[in-house]
Each structure stands twice: as structure tokens, then as C-alpha cells.
Symmetry: C2
Subunit: 172 residues, 2 copies
Amino acid sequence: METNNIANEIATTTSVISSEALLAHWQGHRKLSRKVIEAFPEDQFYTYSIGGMRTFAQLTMEMIGLAAPGIRGVVFGDWTFTEPVLDSSTPAPATKAEVLNLWDLVTEYIDHLWPQIPAQRFQETEAAFGQYENTIIGTILYLIDNEIHHRAQGYVYLRALGIEPPFFWDRY
Amino acid sequence: METNNIANEIATTTSVISSEALLAHWQGHRKLSRKVIEAFPEDQFYTYSIGGMRTFAQLTMEMIGLAAPGIRGVVFGDWTFTEPVLDSSTPAPATKAEVLNLWDLVTEYIDHLWPQIPAQRFQETEAAFGQYENTIIGTILYLIDNEIHHRAQGYVYLRALGIEPPFFWDRY
């Protein structure tokens, strides 16, 4: 009977994605974002803009500056920013190579911290970055969606510059 | 013992999002996309483009033309296109009002079909649209991500036109 109860509970709250699959999904998107950074000419990465929007360097720093403290907050519930500050207003390093290096450090950081997320944690509600009340899974999806959104601005910048961006499905 | 085995299995494949929550997530994004369509001036919706990219009318038709046959395929495994064809190459209706009407029909269609997705279906592997081999959950995430991606192009178009787009978190 107890087995049946558990089985029923699973059926009514059908799990559609596992923790491991969601990590792979996020990192797949991060691989594509890395390719978009690589596709930019060095100077345009720091200077090109449309309609008064931020440069792709600034948008990249938002992705990095949300992902790194984001995964820390997700795992430990610590949403403070410590010195040296790495947040979405952190200026981009002077070269694309340094930005890509920072990107790769964040990739490793996420891979390192992710398996430490307690199973029940995903459904907990908490103010992300001390201000955005959401479930932890909601915050994680927000980080991924925000990256897809800003990366797509990079696609338009590249097209406007006459550069072919990577395929959207190229997440390897 | 059997109960423990099931409990262990759950623990090692931590569920992070339920079917109901994923539907709400998708429909939240669709509400935001609808607002982006609404924000476009009628003429620019059909004509404005940057870097040779598609107009937002065409991008909207891609979203509609993937979502509708997409959810049908997800639920029934039927990936054929029937006449009248509604796919990503379907021309947009002549007015924004008609496009929005079509959008709302797809919203209802998704709400109607989603609860019919069998629980085990999400992890099945199948060639979406007869050609994109993926798990069903992978295909659903692709539909959502693709919409975020193309909608973001609309954000850039609006900014370039001097129009303030809706807030990214405004999914209500």
C-alpha cells in the first residue's frame, strides 16, 4: 500500500526533468553563448550596439555576473556579493580572451557546485539576490532564460555586422 | 524494501520541475511574447528587419507554427502537417489582430492538450517533426527556448524603433 501511495504521488506530480538533465541543458546553452562571444570581432564586442542597448561585452558580464553568484545562492542560500564584486555591473576584462577565461571558470564553478544542491532545495522559495522572490527552480530557469534572451541580442548584432552566428541548436 | 527502492530511485533522479509547473512556465513566456507582438506598430510588425533577418510577423508565425503541431506531436506522436498547413512557413494573417487571435487559439490548444501528455512520455525519444531526434522533454524545452530566442530579436527591433519593450519578467 505504501508503495502504491508513493507511486500515486509520483504520477500526480509528474517529474519532467531531472537535476542532472537540467544542468546539462544549462551548460549546453552556455556552450552556445561562448560560441557567440567567440564570433564577435574583438572591437565590436566592446563597442557595437543597436537602439541604445548594451554592448555584447556588457551583456556577457551580466550572464557571468548572474550565473556565478546565482549558483552560489542556489546551493548555499548566500546571496551577498563579496569583494572583489562579480555582479552584472562588473566591467568586462580588457580582452575577449580574458572574458572567455572568466566564462570557463564559471562553467567549472557551476559543475562543481550543482551536485551539492539538496534535492528538496529546488522547490524552496527564497528571494534570489536578496530581492527576487521565487522558487529555486524558478530562479534557475530565470538565469537560463535571461541568458538565451540576451544572447539573442548578440545574434542580431552579429547579423547586423554581416557575421553568421552559430546555429541555435549547436550546444556542444 | 520495495518502498525504499522507489524512494532511492527518486533521490538519485531528483525531480526539479513538475509537468504542471512547466506548462505554467511555457504559458508565462507565451504571455510575454504576446505583449511583444502587441508592442509593435502594425506596419513595422510586417516590414521591419535588421541584418536581413525575418520580420517579427514571420518570427511570430514560426512560434505559432512550432507550438501548435509541436504540442500535438508531444501528446499524440503525430508529427505530420495536415491541410490547412500551419507550420513555420505559413504566411502571417493580414492584421495583427488576426495574428493575436491565432495566438490565443494556440494558447487554448496547449492548455487543452497538455494534461493529456502521459507521465512516461516526457522521457521517450522521438524524432520531433519527423526529423529532430530528441527526448520529448528536450523537444518541449527547445520550443520554449526557440520562442525566447526569436522574441528577443523582437526586443532589438522595438529598441531600434525607439519603442520600450515589455519587461522580461512580465509574464502575467
